[in-house]
């Protein structure tokens, strides 16, 4: 093999932050259901700690042999509302603590699946899980939660939207970091290896390995070589880069699955930024030709980036899944933070961007006094974008009590820091208080 190709790979990993962001083991908990919650929790703990016993060890071995950083090892489980609903418990904090304990025993970074899917209505289990969220998030460290409130097929459950606005407020009052671990979805996917929104869908096999790869820096570096060229060449360069990155994910995933003796699920190629220098999606958009992300043209550039990433990734692996595209979390991206501080990027533009990228309003810090109804209205807007466009959208916003616009809040680690962003202060309360359902769109009737 030629020198330049080998050196290209080495530079991608050592200088351009190419990494396997996560190896995530999906574990079904459907066989742990029991009407006695103590028995159920014991079964859950035993199953997770048995099935994922070697996850960290195998990931570390691969990391060493192949010289590829594997940043996180994670587990996703069946939505807990389905598992806990059989018990007569009045809250599910015990289940969250069980997941947390299992995660600590395994030495993994996160466990996802304290979740409920309520797009068309709520069961008793869903209601209890949602009511348990503020305490469950406060009393655990590694547990990630998500609630799916809408879908293109069934519309938007506005009662759930209203409730989630209040849940976010309540969770923030207990500890503002709680909301970094809580995602509200429309069209949630069942094989997402990324957190905080990962859970193991009911249509998945008993155990599966999913892999998330990332490398915004690799794409930016590749684009430096096509300065001033037409946008088709830019798109082609992104595709080719995405292909190489995804091939690495396919390799790591298939080796991990083989060594762990479980089926290999999907590769999720998502450009997931980190606060590190040169690991930014904003800087890719700026390399395409925007002086700063957030200005006019940002949505078009992001649409092309997201699409080219998917096209490059699709041929590179046996099954693409998860969210696959570009993430735009504000606090985790140095370029996004600069743009917010400079006044170039605001919530309205971020919302427009979420219509063409793979997630939604992500890691956005808000003043602590934001009304619950306004949070609900933000969720409704995002869910509407997802529902109409047949795509996943999500909201992970973080009201910080005591902070006001212009302040900064520190999250630490991969989550970075964020400037407190302003929102529109005109009330949406009357609409949110109506509750009910936004019916499924006309294009959902395909049978």
């Amino acid at each position: 093999m030629e020198f330049d190709k080998i050196l290209e790979t080495i530079h991608m990993i050592s200088d351009q932050n190419l990494d396997v962001r996560t190896v995530t083991m999906g574990i079904s908990l459907l066989d742990c259901i029991d009407s006695d919650s103590d028995v159920a929790c014991q079964k859950i703990y035993d199953k997770i700690t048995t099935k994922a016993k070697n996850l960290v060890k195998v990931a570390e071995q691969i990391e060493m042999e192949y010289g590829i950083p594997i940043v996180n090892k994670r587990v996703s489980v069946t939505p807990i509302s389905l598992v806990a609903g059989a018990s007569n418990d009045r809250d599910y904090v015990k289940y969250a603590k069980t997941l947390d304990k299992a995660a600590q025993t395994l030495g993994i970074d996160f466990i996802g699946g304290f979740s409920a899917l309520v797009q068309k209505g709520m069961t008793k289990g869903d209601e209890i899980l949602i009511a348990s969220l503020p305490q469950a998030l406060t009393q655990t460290n590694l547990v990630c939660a998500s609630v799916n409130v809408g879908s293109s097929k069934s519309g938007i459950n506005m009662d759930a939207v209203k409730q989630m606005g209040q849940v976010i407020k309540d969770a923030a009052e207990l500890d503002y970091m709680n909301n970094a671990k809580l995602v509200v979805f429309c069209n949630a996917v069942e094989d997402n290896p990324f957190m905080a929104g990962g859970f193991h869908g009911v249509s998945e096999p008993d155990i599966v390995i999913n892999v998330g790869v990332s490398g915004p820096g690799v794409v930016k570096t590749a684009l430096e070589k096509v300065k001033g060229k037409p946008l088709d060449e830019v798109a082609e360069t992104i595709k080719q880069t995405a292909f190489k990155v995804t091939r690495m994910g396919q390799l790591v995933g298939s080796i991990a699955a083989k060594r762990l003796g479980v089926p290999f699920g999907i590769v999720d190629l998502s450009l997931a930024p980190t606060p590190a220098v040169g690991d930014s999606v904003a800087q890719i958009l700026e390399e395409i030709g925007l002086d700063q992300v957030g200005t006019h043209g940002t949505t078009a550039a992001l649409a092309m980036l997201n699409d080219a990433v998917k096209k490059g990734g699709i041929m590179a692996c046996s099954h693409v899944g998860g969210l696959s595209g570009a993430f735009i979390p504000v606090s985790e991206d140095a370029g996004m933070i600069d743009a917010v501080n400079a006044g170039t990027l605001n919530l309205a533009k971020l919302e427009a961007m979420t219509a063409v990228c793979s997630v939604g309003l992500d890691m956005i810090a808000l003043p602590g006094d934001v009304p619950a109804e306004t949070l609900g209205a933000m969720i409704a807007d995002e869910a509407a974008i997802g529902m109409i466009n047949n795509k996943t959208t999500a909201v992970r916003v973080i009201p910080v009590p005591g902070k006001k616009v212009g302040d900064t809040v520190e999250f630490g680690g991969l989550l970075g820091h964020a400037p407190i962003m302003d929102y529109t202060h005109v009330s949406s309360a009357a609409m949110i208080q109506r509750g009910g359902t936004i019916p499924a769109p006309i294009h959902s009737f395909k049978n």
Partner: protein, 88 residues
């Protein structure tokens, strides 16, 4: 495992000798070797066979130390990663 070892840095006397001596001590067989000057830097690529039960972590640590002593970057990775990324 079959691996690719690369050495990149300022050219000087003894790089090949030192790296080869280390590999011999670790019972790592050299299958192929080539070198060139790229952008003014000494660039060497070796295909090697690392014995199955070797402690790869320890070898990587020792190689990093050797690289520091020789003022070059030494990198050892399973060759499958290069095949996966650059060959269909």
């Amino acid at each position: 495992m079959k691996a690719i070892l690369t050495v990149v840095g300022q050219d000087k006397v003894g790089i090949v000798a030192e790296v080869s001596r280390f590999l011999a001590e670790e019972q790592i067989n050299i299958l192929d070797i080539s070198q060139t000057i790229l952008d003014g830097y000494f660039t060497m690529m070796m295909a090697v066979m690392v014995p199955e039960n070797s402690d790869v972590k320890q070898i990587a640590t020792k190689l990093a130390e050797l690289g520091q002593a020789l003022k070059v970057d030494i990198n050892l990775k399973n060759e499958e990663i290069y095949r996966a990324m650059h060959q269909l």
